[in-house]
Amino acid sequence: MWTWFYKLASPPYVYSLAGAFAPWFFGLAALTLGFGVIDGLGFAPPDYQQGDAFRIIYVHAPGAWMSTFIYTLMAVAGAIGLIWRIKMGHAVAAACAPIGASFTVLALVTGSLWGKPMWGTYWAWDPRLTSELILLFLYVGVLSLRPAFEDAARGDRAAALLAIVGVVNVPIIHYSVVWWNSLHQAATVAKFGKPSIDAAMLWPLLSMLLGCMLFFGAVLCVRLRGEVLNRERQASWVRQALQ
């Protein structure tokens, strides 16, 4: 029953699996992102208060969700590597970090572009914004800690531990709009009961979220293949695979 799981610890298997998944992820991501962009920018009705400016939500919200999701995934992968000494866990964590940092930057940049016309300022020192910025700093810490070690295995474990420590920030980001009086609006989709967003606006948003997930999956597969090749460069299967 667990053989599929054990197989995931084997670098050649992960390498070929990621290679098989990547084109599917890319294709499906193109479809869902395409639908989301066309429907969200072209057909969703404008907001009664914000007009067309609200449409940046189709990039901003998925970007922000992905930033915390990828961080959590990175910490879990790191923990798997740390606890069970599975090298592929560290490879996944290493592949996740730059993608997650990019999504964090995307969320921060789109948010501040939207903030200028809506709040009158690019940046406010608001709990949601500050905790998201701290998330970016945590990504930077993890990204710079790993290569600082001469011994790669040690760098992996150190980065994993730092990622796990930083996970305390994830619930703070999520609940920051609930716990504090925030300039940032409260959750409109991810809450109990009916989402307080019209279905015509919601569908492209969900499509964009799914698209970002699939896009992340695709990029993760590509990066993971690179990580695996680099880590296993002494192994004979790499030579065979690259021939």
Binding site: T130, G141, L161
Partner: protein, 226 residues
């Protein structure tokens, strides 16, 4: 001869304290840095007292965070370099206990000393004496939390040649909540409003960190010692 855990704790702590008092310059330098940095702000603001009064909690806290960072690098460094740390880890007392003793000793010579110097800085920054109690309490909790966060960071970076910058990079983002609530508590005390909310938040952060960070710091050191 076997030594109980409590005795081992005191022995390590006494060793740490003795070592730091043998090198008083290491103990004093962060404190002097704290004084100098806080002096820079009034001068940079052209001695505008009204501006200074508004900014003083932030200035005080930022200076406290930065000066505490200075001494964190040395927390495990010399013991890791000469192999003492490995011997302590092999000593059968449990590394977590050793780490706790070292971090507590570090807080006593850095954080607690900083709390005692803080009123001097507060007077220079024009903070009213009524706010001193809240300010010192918040600084005490803040520096203790920071010592523990720093123990995790120092454990992760102790094996690195240029670990100092990286240590700041790792610890400062984690310390930002401390700065927010610590400065808020001090600020509220200055404007004579109840600072309880911020102090409770700070206490919660302190308890949370003091319970979990010992395990994280121990795990970090094990990665380095392996």
């Amino acid at each position: 001869m076997s030594v109980g855990p409590l005795e081992a704790f005191w022995l390590v702590m006494r060793r740490e304290l003795t070592l730091s008092f043998r090198r008083p310059e290491q103990l004093l330098q962060p404190l002097v840095f704290f004084l100098i940095v806080t002096t820079l702000f009034p001068l940079g603001l052209n001695l505008q007292l009204s501006l200074l009064r508004d900014m003083s909690p932030g200035v005080l806290w930022v200076a406290a965070l930065l000066s505490s960072l200075l001494s964190l690098d040395a927390l495990f460094k010399s013991d890791a370099d000469d192999g003492t740390l490995e011997q302590l880890a092999l000593g059968g007392q449990g590394l977590a206990l050793i780490v706790t003793a070292k971090t507590c000793a570090h807080w006593l010579v850095s954080g607690a000393a900083l709390v005692l110097v803080a009123p001097l800085v507060a007077i220079a920054l024009n903070i009213p004496t009524d706010a001193f109690a809240t300010m010192m309490l918040s600084l005490a909790m803040g520096t203790l939390t920071l010592s523990w966060l720093g123990a995790v960071g120092a454990g992760l970076t102790v094996g690195l040649r240029r670990g100092n910058v990286l240590l700041s990079l790792i610890v400062l983002p984690l310390a930002m909540p401390l700065l927010i609530f610590g400065a808020a508590a001090t600020d509220r005390a200055i404007s004579q409003v109840s600072a309880e909310g911020a102090l409770y938040f700070l206490a919660a952060l302190c308890v949370f960190t003091c319970t979990l960070a010992p395990f994280a710091a121990t795990a970090a050191l094990r990665i380095t010692l392996e």
